[in-house]
């Protein structure tokens, strides 16, 4: 079979061979338009697939590849490089518990234990990539530094940061996720003021500046 006009590298699904849902196609085409080269859309297109299907399904990857004009294995190789992409079912809710240096010093490992206990996720697997709760709804993973050591120990819950958390909070978080209630509103990172408190009198050099 010869390479048709506009056909990408070997393995690139031709557009007509793959049925792509209209919204997904429109979303990926909009993403492609932001960049000088269409391949730059790889990561945002994979996020679009993951939002739609809950994880990067083989069919979803094929659909994105068809719209982008790249091969599906290429896109899968990109997905496999990054920790936030799931190449297996990953539930409806994601809990990332930081176990890096500063959180470890303040109880990050125990917090991960508590989340595993509250969800029934396998602790060993959660510490090595992630594990699903018994009902398949909640994905728990021990994660590298999330950039919130001031909240230690902390977790990212459905893409929002919360901390500092106590082990007992894990059960409350899981209950809230299951019932659709708001998760620990008083522990949201976004609401924290500066550690040093409100502005005092500005330095004279700053006061006179533009």
């Amino acid at each position: 079979m010869s390479e048709g006009a506009g056909r990408g590298p070997v393995g690139t699904p031709a557009d007509h061979e793959v049925e792509v849902p209209a919204e997904l196609r429109a979303e990926i085409e909009e993403i492609i338009s932001r960049y000088p080269q269409k391949r730059s859309a790889s990561i945002p297109a994979l996020f679009a697939v993951q939002r739609r299907y809950g994880w990067c399904t083989p069919e979803g990857i094929r659909q994105a590849a068809a719209v982008m004009g790249v091969s599906a294995p290429y896109l899968e190789s990109v997905a496999s490089f990054y920790d936030l992409f799931h190449l297996e079912p990953a539930g409806r809710h994601r809990i990332l518990v930081c176990t890096n240096i500063s959180c470890w010093m303040r109880g990050g490992d125990q917090l991960l234990d508590a989340f595993c206990e509250a969800t029934g996720a396998d602790r060993e697997a959660a510490g090595h990539g992630g594990a699903l709760s018994a009902d398949g709804e909640i994905h728990v993973s021990g994660f590298e530094c999330l950039g919130a050591c001031d909240l230690a120990p902390m977790a990212s819950i459905d893409e929002r940061y919360y901390g500092p958390l106590e082990d007992a909070d894990a059960a409350a978080v899981v209950d809230a996720l299951r019932s659709g209630a708001e998760v620990l509103p008083d522990r949201e990172m976004a609401k924290r003021p500066l550690a040093g408190g409100p502005d005092g009198d500005p330095d004279p050099r700053v006061a006179g500046s533009g």
Binding site: V78, C149, A190, A195, G200, V206
Partner: protein, 440 residues
């Protein structure tokens, strides 16, 4: 009221409600620097001002921002600016606070940096975990387009600047500037061989300026007040203020903006409150998890690029992690090494294998299966990583780990001895043992 140890320039007004919206940002003088830069300045003039200010990169390497910008060739080719917002160095969370609370401050800094570099397209590469912050940046970028601060013909000056917020997807290595470029081009985030340097051949093979969030957020202040004003803060070689992230065993972890050159003790004790009641500081990383670890003896060092380098460590990303006397140094070394093993992209052998074997040996130390000779092997592995890879990820493990083994060797030896006493674990079984075990 005692004089504050903080000097808030970037942090001034940052907790004002609504600062993330254009209207409020403008009320505090936002976008005046952009107007001045675009209307009244030539790109070369701006680059000279940045160089004269002494502003050094706030992401880790500490290279002169203006000098880096001056390396880009002149001419009409497509040039790019990439803002490195992939903040992933353990212990570092300064850009998070800056971007979340003042996204327009970054948008203005990126636009000014792009204009100075002659770049019409700019990208903010933000780590995927910072999803809520990326949303805020998207909203700020949209407001800036509507106000005419971005897009075609900015403020009628015939200069175009476009900004795209690009989310990463969880890979520490993408904070390395050439891996960031590959990732932004839609590939796996592997570092590139240098040279060519990104200033000559970067994103899409075009000349590219790559700067950290905090570096770019300083630009509006330099434009508004001039390089001499900026040099009025800090030391001769470390000008300006710095947002320092303090975490670990301290009473008030958080971000503090200080004038560069104040004693490190003032940051750790004066601002962050030092270790909890009854505990003593044992060790501290001065500039993120990849900086060689220091002890109590170095607490009076000025917090500046030059003083920390002279002491054999580095200011890095400006992240201080404090360990008190309850923390085991071998376990801290293991935790550090595990991170780099996980994040090694695997391209270069010394890093891929060196991080893996360092973790395995440190696990033996902690489990009591090591001998003191293993400590020499750990040290030699670190020596064989440093300088032998495309990027410095491997070095970033080797530097702190070797500093810990060297300085706290007695503690490693005690850990080995104690673990052997508690549970005299056998050495890992050799092939013979496995065979006989299988037959039993």
């Amino acid at each position: 009221m005692p004089e504050s140890l903080e000097t808030r320039v970037l942090f001034r007004h940052i907790d004002e409600p609504g600062l993330c919206r254009l209207e409020t940002y403008e009320r505090y003088g936002g976008y005046t620097a952009l107007k001045r830069a675009f209307r009244d300045c030539e790109p070369g003039e701006l680059v000279s001002e940045f160089e004269a200010s002494g502003l050094r990169g706030r992401g880790g390497a500490g290279f002169s921002m203006g000098k880096k910008a001056s390396f880009l060739p002149h001419g009409d080719m497509a040039k790019y600016l990439c803002c490195n917002a992939d903040e992933s160095e353990p212990g570092t969370f300064k850009d998070r606070e800056l971007m979340l609370k003042n996204p327009h401050g970054l948008v203005e800094g990126v636009a000014i940096g792009a204009m100075a570099a002659g770049a019409t397209r700019a990208f903010i590469y933000i780590r995927g975990e910072y999803a809520e912050i990326a949303d805020r940046l998207d909203a700020a970028v949209a407001e800036a387009y509507d106000a005419g601060y971005l897009g075609e013909d900015v403020l009628g000056t015939k200069v175009d600047v476009d900004i795209v917020v690009h989310r990463g997807a969880g890979a520490y290595i993408c904070g390395e500037e050439t891996a960031l470029l590959d990732s932004l081009e839609g590939k796996r985030g592997n570092p590139r061989l240098k040279p060519p340097f990104p200033a000559i051949q970067g994103l899409y093979d075009g000349p590219t300026l790559i700067n950290n969030v905090e570096t770019l957020m300083n630009l509006p202040n330099v434009v508004n007040n001039g390089p001499d004003w900026f040099k009025g803060f800090g030391t001769e070689q470390s000008t300006g203020t710095k947002v320092v992230s303090v975490s670990g065993c301290v009473r008030r972890p958080g971000n503090y903006e200080i004038e560069l050159g104040i004693p490190s003790r003032d940051i750790i004790y004066g601002l962050a409150g030092g270790p909890p009641e009854g505990r003593e500081l044992k060790a501290w990383y001065p500039g993120g998890s990849s900086s060689p670890v220091l002890g109590p003896e170095e607490l009076d060092l000025p917090y500046s690029f030059e003083a920390l380098a002279e002491a054999g460590s580095m200011l890095g990303s400006g992240a201080i992690i404090v360990a008190d006397d309850t923390v085991s140094i071998p376990e801290m070394a293991l935790r550090t090494a595990r991170f780099y093993r996980h994040e090694s992209c695997g391209k270069c052998t010394p890093c891929r294998e060196g991080t893996n074997w360092t973790v395995k040996m440190l696990e033996r130390v902690v489990r009591g299966e090591a001998t003191p000779m293993d400590l020499d092997i750990i040290a030699s592995v670190q020596e064989n990583i440093i300088g032998h890879c495309l990027c410095v990820l491997g070095d970033a493990m080797a530097m702190p780990v070797s500093s810990m083994v060297r300085r706290w060797r007695h503690e490693f030896e005690e850990t080995i001895a104690r673990a052997r006493e508690v549970a005299p674990a056998p050495l890992e079984p050799g092939p013979a043992a496995v065979v006989s075990g299988a037959g039993a």
